[in-house]
């Protein structure tokens, strides 16, 4: 036991060093030295409103960063290797056909209200997520096809599915399948959104005011950290104060003047100054699907493979690096680098203006020298794109496409408006990313029998995707996803642009802040150096 925790500590420290150096930031060596001390309140500034802090219901990163501190999961995922490791489940077995998962639970785990965590908690939480239906924005798909949760004894839970479900094991490591006490599950979804959640995690949620703040305090009896954690016992911090500060300059100024400890959304233009004045900048690409242009192939223009492929070739992804954070990368695949099944497909995403021009000429789109935009039968090659995210790089994409004779009309909308446009089915192109530390996200989005983002007929791609759900061998699964991703790119179903990376900056006192596998944070190991 002792050797194991020492080993995992070394591994975690090593991975942290790798992680930080990979991001190019140099943590102050003197500050990093020293033993962790207990105490102090970590003041964090969020850029957006978490709206709802119940991880079983929401998909927003800001919300899940709150939930992560309050709930624990059956398993954890190593951010470096993608490997699934023990947490509340000490061990598990997966049946040959990936339909049945048997978890052996840790003993002595209690919820923050004092009730014990048992196999019954697993059963009732999974049932509650199914009851949430559409409200469990991601959880419902993680548990799709759930047949039963059997509890042969207090510390054994057997989860069975109708169909093979290879993605489920990774899903158990997310806070989306985190556990609440029975009392919490009796509350209405609205009450839970508003902060009435009690989990087994290292911090209890004391208060939550939508659009304003959240306040967490240490759970003193906590003694069941993930096998990835660097220490045991309760968390180092006394508490966490989260404030929603929408203005970037206010967050930045507050950090540099010592009014907050962590800024969770640093703007590219402020990174250099912050780093130069000793404020470490941390970043990790969100795993899952990168920011992609997603053609709706039942619509004119988007239905033409030549145009879709030409758009991808006309985009100079290296140039996009100039306008995004230095910690962020242009996309090199449909999946981002931090996804366990990622492979580098940049050869398929090279900037090729001649190739783009040839494809468009071939499809009959001819350049109108006057407007600089290509035309066919008097119709300009014009694409309207509705989006709601803060993504200034789209303006550069627009500029690059204009150089190729493609007119990209950007329609920045509110989330509400964008959602309405999606619902109406009038979009010719969609644009978004999706975070998940498993390539299964490709299946969720592109499978013609699932979300079918491309509005296309089933093809060979579906066969490959189906195979991924049955295959448990990691290498074979990765190979299958690569095959699918290459097809998606080459046939123009996905036009990857940029990876999403949360770019955080902390005050020099903040130690041991690291991202977990889905690039959200686990603050259990975090501590504040100095007098506090």
């Amino acid at each position: 036991m002792h050797t194991r925790s020492a080993l995992s500590l070394t591994a975690a420290a090593l991975s942290a060093v790798l992680l930080l150096s990979a991001c190019g930031s140099q943590p102050d060596p003197t500050a990093a030295a020293g033993e962790p001390v207990s105490g102090g309140t970590l003041r964090i500034a969020y850029d957006t409103d978490p709206q709802c802090v119940d991880g079983q219901q929401v998909g927003q990163n800001t919300a899940l960063n709150v939930t992560r501190q309050v709930t624990d999961s059956l398993t954890d995922q190593d951010p470096e290797t993608g490997e699934i490791v023990p947490w509340l489940a000490e061990s598990w077995e997966v049946s040959e056909d990936s339909r049945e998962f048997t978890f052996h639970l840790r003993e002595g785990v209690t919820f923050q209200d004092g009730t014990p965590f048992t196999s019954a908690s697993v059963a009732e939480n999974f049932a509650a997520i199914q009851d949430l239906g559409a409200r469990a924005t991601q959880g419902s798909s993680y548990l799709a096809g759930l047949r039963s949760v059997e509890t042969p004894d207090e510390h054994t839970a057997v989860v069975a599915f109708e169909e093979p479900n290879a993605q489920f094991l990774q899903a158990t490591s997310t806070m989306i399948l985190g556990f609440y006490s029975s009392q919490t599950l009796e509350k209405t979804p609205e009450e839970r959104c508003g902060g009435e959640i009690v989990g087994t995690g290292p911090f209890t949620l004391e208060s939550f005011t939508p659009a304003e703040s959240a306040s967490l305090v240490r759970y003193d009896d906590y003694a069941w950290p993930s096998s990835l954690a660097r220490h045991e016992g309760p968390a180092h911090l006394d508490g966490i104060e989260i404030t929603v500060v929408p203005e970037a300059t206010v967050r930045n100024g507050s950090l540099s003047s010592g009014q907050i400890d962590v800024d969770t959304a640093v703007l590219p233009q402020d990174e250099e100054t912050l780093e130069a004045s000793g404020f470490p900048v941390l970043s990790r690409p969100n795993p899952g699907m990168t920011y992609n242009l997603l053609p709706k192939e039942s619509k004119p223009i988007a239905e033409e493979p030549e145009v879709r492929r030409a758009i991808s070739k006309a985009i100079n992804r290296e140039e996009l690096a100039a306008v995004i954070s230095s910690h962020q990368s242009p996309a090199t695949s449909v999946l981002s680098q931090s996804t366990p099944q990622y492979t580098d497909l940049s050869a398929h995403l090279a900037f090729d203006p001649e190739g783009a021009a040839a494809l468009l000429d071939e499809a009959g789109w001819e350049l109108n020298a006057e407007t600089g935009i290509r035309e066919r039968d008097g119709e300009p090659l014009s694409i309207e794109l509705s989006y709601w995210q803060t993504v200034p790089f789209l303006e550069l994409v627009q500029q690059q496409l204009r150089a190729a004779g493609i007119d990209l009309q950007l329609d920045r909308a509110t989330l509400a408006e964008h959602t309405a446009a999606q619902e109406s089915g009038d979009l010719t192109f969609d644009f978004y990313n999706l975070t998940r530390s498993d390539a299964d996200i490709i299946r969720t989005v592109f499978d013609a029998r699932a979300r079918n983002v491309n509005e296309r007929e089933p093809s060979e791609i579906e066969d490959i995707l189906t195979e991924t759900t049955v295959t448990t061998d990691p290498a074979a699964r990765t190979a299958l996803f690569e095959q699918a991703a290459v097809k998606l790119i080459e046939e123009g179903h996905a036009i990857p642009l940029v990876e999403l990376s949360g770019v955080w900056a902390t005050s020099p006192e903040v130690q041991g802040l690291h991202f977990e596998a889905s690039s959200r944070v686990q603050l259990y190991d975090t501590w504040l150096a100095g007098e506090r």
Binding site: Q269, D270, A322, L396, R402
Partner: protein, 320 residues
């Protein structure tokens, strides 16, 4: 109803204005005797007193007129003033400080800020002008109809105005933009809706004032039909203050559009709309001050100039 009451209550506060006007006209002589003591009206304009030289050169006013002429020219023919592309830039030349390369610097995509300001004049002034025109048209119509027909119609229309006024302008504009979608005309409409009450009240006040005058009553006694009285006798007099208000509203409309952009309800990129330039540039206050300061100063200067001219317009009419 109000008009009738006001005739019988000469000491009521609303008569102050009438008194002021009379002082300016019938008692011009008396005013002369006071002019030993310097007393100018606020806003920097010369007072109504006869001593104010009509043709005196006012440098502030000239400056304002020159600036407005310049931005109007930018709006009409931007290419005469800059040959740089406002929409495309070189990402390698991004965030250059003002200097010889780019007079007012470059933005985060390497686009020339001056060029964006010049090319933005068209959409900024256009949106604002549409907003003021809509508010002017709708507000004046409501005010004139309410003021002239009086009683029931007046009460109903004034309640409508009350309703519009009871919702804070910015909240109203935001909801309308969300409802109608982004885009110049929708933003103009949203801003206009919030300033209709001002026009309606001024127009109604003017009509009430004029419709009880002797010559309008004489016209009515002579059997001239109501619409004709409105058009020929009331409107020409009532329209002056409404015009002055329009000029003032122009300034506040520019600011309203910029406030909407700040809250994320602005023009779509890459349009270089002024309000959008200021609000986009705010993220660079610490790293590239010129992005928000340059268009911000321009907006302030234009609003000031318009206000200055509105004042001159108002005082000019009073004097004539």
């Amino acid at each position: 109803m109000s008009a009738g009451l006001s005739s019988s209550q000469p000491t009521a506060p609303h008569v102050q204005e009438a008194e002021a006007q009379r002082t300016g006209a019938s008692h011009a002589g008396a005013q002369h005797t006071q002019s030993a003591e310097p007393s100018r009206t606020p806003g920097g304009r010369p007072s109504l007193r006869g001593t104010a030289p009509l043709g005196r050169i006012r440098p502030g006013l000239i400056l304002a007129a020159v600036l407005l002429a310049l931005v109007t020219a930018w709006a009409l023919a931007p290419d005469l003033f800059t040959d740089r592309d406002p929409l495309s830039g070189d990402p390698l030349q991004r965030l250059q400080a003002p200097g010889t390369g780019a007079l007012l610097g470059t933005d985060q995509l390497g686009r020339d800020v001056l060029s964006r300001i010049i090319h933005g004049a068209g959409s900024s002034l256009g949106t604002t002008a549409i907003a003021v025109l809509i508010a002017f048209g709708a507000g004046t119509a409501i005010g004139v109809v309410a003021g002239f027909l009086g009683c029931g119609v007046d009460a109903v229309l004034m309640r409508v105005i009350d309703v519009l006024q009871s919702i804070p302008g910015l909240l109203l504009s935001m909801s309308v933009v969300v409802a109608l979608g982004f885009g110049a005309v929708n933003i103009a409409l949203a801003v206009a809706l919030a300033s209709i009450p001002a026009f309606a009240r001024v127009a109604r006040g003017e009509v009430l004032r004029w419709r009880s005058t002797l010559f309008v009553e004489a016209a009515r006694l002579n059997g001239i039909r109501t619409p004709e009285i409105v058009v020929r006798h009331v409107l020409p007099h009532a329209v002056g203050p409404v015009f002055a208000l329009a000029a003032l509203e122009f300034g506040s409309a520019i600011l309203a559009v910029s406030a909407l952009s700040f809250l994320g309800y602005g023009a779509p990129p890459p349009q270089p709309e002024w309000g959008l330039l200021v609000s986009e540039g705010r993220d660079f206050i610490a790293s590239a001050w010129w992005l928000t300061t340059m268009p911000g100063l321009l907006i302030a200067a234009v609003v000031l100039s318009v206000n200055r001219i509105a004042l001159a317009l108002g005082s000019g009419r009073s004097r004539s």
